[in-house]
Symmetry: C2
Subunit: 380 residues, 2 copies
């Protein structure tokens, strides 16, 4: 375990008794949200930061579980002395509704049937997540987040927070995101979904009742995901056309990149046992994300009543959500003379860059969090 | 049927009795090549053009089969008065070995077992195709092609012809190709292969013996292919985030782009009944294509003994084989002071552009074929 880690952590449960009526027209009568916290909430309750996760992420943002060798998914940026400094901030990670890591989701028991929700779990949208995350805010006794922060789908949640609950956050940090998906983004999601749904072990989403999981489809979806997270350049540098062995001329693994993708797919479906219905829900939440739609499809109008200050970060080689997509967010904020900082970070790591160490990213991130900290201390 | 079409056409068969020893170490004892010809071979045999096909293409390049509404795949560019003018040239289209449209391939009977070759069909490389296509050249009594022309995987064959049989062609027209695949290119192929091979109906490639075909996997592979053939911009323009219907919040088709991809996948696997083993072989031929490998991985050295004059064409929005990849070919030719023309064509159609009408592309293509025609007539 590293020195500058929050160390051993334990998840907690927030039970919510009030039903959630989803945008999709579903009802979740009551639900659990599993979450983790690092650092101490100050007396005034002004130093709380919510971290929202991306497609396959969860509440385990930093630190270690007993016996685990691998830390949480954002260990590089969350911990004592790190950009999101747990010596200063009270940091909250939460698993989204519909997830498969402890929060109520498709693998939970549907009280109406006493069987797993499976495909009957309501389609989730980013707006629904904001509503449910706001219940956690109340549960924790926090009047206003110092910041809501996230990358990719997590960044979309930060943006939606600022639009839907403008007085509940002082800052939104939106990293490697977009104000809505492009047709190509949706197309990639659709191929991934079809891979899962056409797996004979999918059983229309009721695979748990059949004692199986659509591993093949899920592995394919994950392989495709990884393909889009890495840049062409980085793949070239990382793998080139390097052979695993000498040329065999067979359908076995021939090139290193094949080995990497097969391993990633296999690990996700078999070792990490990610739930296929959750994967489907997460891709749908991405597809449906479109905060401007509530404002005549005018993103500038959607931003008009935003109160949070914004930090928007993009990465040069990210072709999933390119810098141009982040700049749409920046422009809409500027149209309203909102307080926005923007950094396009040089990186060869593609979309994955938001998770990885990078001195420029770290510098920018750190500087912005210093600013938030100054506001917190000025208030005290 | 359009006026400037070659009209009704009928495929022919060229039977080759000499065994093909493939680069992969396999042997095809004898084989058929199905081909079509348009126009007339002149007395001197100097006006013949070979058209090589891409991943899912075949010998049916232009014209119509009786009863068919759709013409061959390159009707836009092959016919009377078109860039590849059948009033001038004797044009030959051939289905590659390993294909599924009449040439010997995985669905053919393996004489050793009296069952379909299936997965036992040798892995094919572009070099093997050049060897087999050269048998067709001999069969047709052509001493030297006026040109070998192809797009994508077809362009790679034109390039390999120029390297392997330098005195058998006067021109090579290499369109939307690359001198070898990048790691990302290979990765896309690998995901497509895994989709097919993990389909339970694949039966290790012996699906025909089981009376089934891996339709789901093949449809997924095709969906993924289409995703990479279109540019992000064009997808945006063509589909945007347009809904098929009003928002349903379900896993049914929601956005137009989903409908398009599902249709393409379904059509390929079910209506066109493309053979899955052929699809696998074609992607492998792409992966293994690397003519520089025989020359210490130095593409310039590979080009040193080339005699053909080259026309290289790329398209601005092609992210599968970007202009930079074509320029690698151009540079290697220039390193050897070879005769090369190069055009980067403005197009929003991505990789698909090589198949589609486009006045700039047409102009460049036409001008180069005029030049070839002048050489043919100067000889006469």
């Amino acid at each position: 375990m590293k020195e500058n880690s929050v160390g051993l952590v334990t998840p907690k449960i927030c039970h919510v008794d009030t039903p959630l009526h989803t945008v999709s027209g579903g009802v979740i009568p009551q639900y659990d949200l599993v979450y983790e916290t690092y650092g101490q909430l100050n007396a005034a309750g002004t130093n709380a930061i919510l971290i929202c996760h991306a497609l396959s992420g969860n509440h385990h943002v930093a630190g270690y579980y007993a016996g685990d060798e691998k830390p949480g998914w954002w260990e590089a940026y969350v911990g004592p002395g790190k950009p999101i400094d747990t010596n200063r901030f009270f940091v909250v990670g939460v698993n989204n509704l519909g997830g498969c890591h402890g929060s109520t989701g498709p693998t939970s028991i549907n009280p109406a049937t006493n069987k797993p929700w499976g495909p009957d779990f309501p389609i989730m949208t980013v707006k629904d997540w904001v509503v449910s995350q706001d219940k956690l805010r109340q549960h924790l006794g926090i009047a206003q987040w110092a910041a809501v922060i996230g990358g990719s789908l997590g960044g979309m949640q930060a943006l939606q927070w600022a639009i839907d609950l403008p007085d509940r956050l002082r800052h939104a940090v939106v990293i490697a995101a977009a104000p809505k998906l492009s047709a190509q983004n949706i197309a990639f999601n659709e191929v991934a979904r079809q891979a899962i749904m056409s797996d004979p072990d999918f059983h229309n989403g009721r695979y748990l009742e059949h004692g199986v999981t659509p591993k093949r489809g899920l592995a394919l979806a994950r392989m495709l995901g990884h393909l889009t997270y890495l840049s062409d350049d980085l793949m070239g540098k990382k793998f080139g056309r390097e052979l695993r062995d000498k040329l065999k001329y067979s359908f076995d693994v021939e090139f290193q990149v094949e080995s990497y993708l097969r391993y990633q797919g296999e690990k996700f479906a078999t070792k990490q046992k990610f739930d296929a219905n959750t994967y489907l829900l997460m891709t749908k939440a991405l597809d449906y994300f479109d905060p401007a739609a509530d404002y005549d499809h005018d993103l500038s109008r959607a931003m008009a009543h935003v109160q949070a200050k914004f930090m928007v970060i993009s990465f040069t080689s990210d072709w999933r959500f390119s810098p141009e997509r982040s700049e749409e967010i920046v422009r809409a904020l500027l149209d309203n003379d909102k307080d926005v900082s923007y950094a396009e970070i040089e990186s060869q790591h593609g979309h994955d860059a938001f998770l990885l160490p990078n001195p420029f990213y770290e510098g920018v991130f750190n500087a912005y969090l210093q600013r938030i900290w100054q506001e917190v201390t000025a208030d005290a």
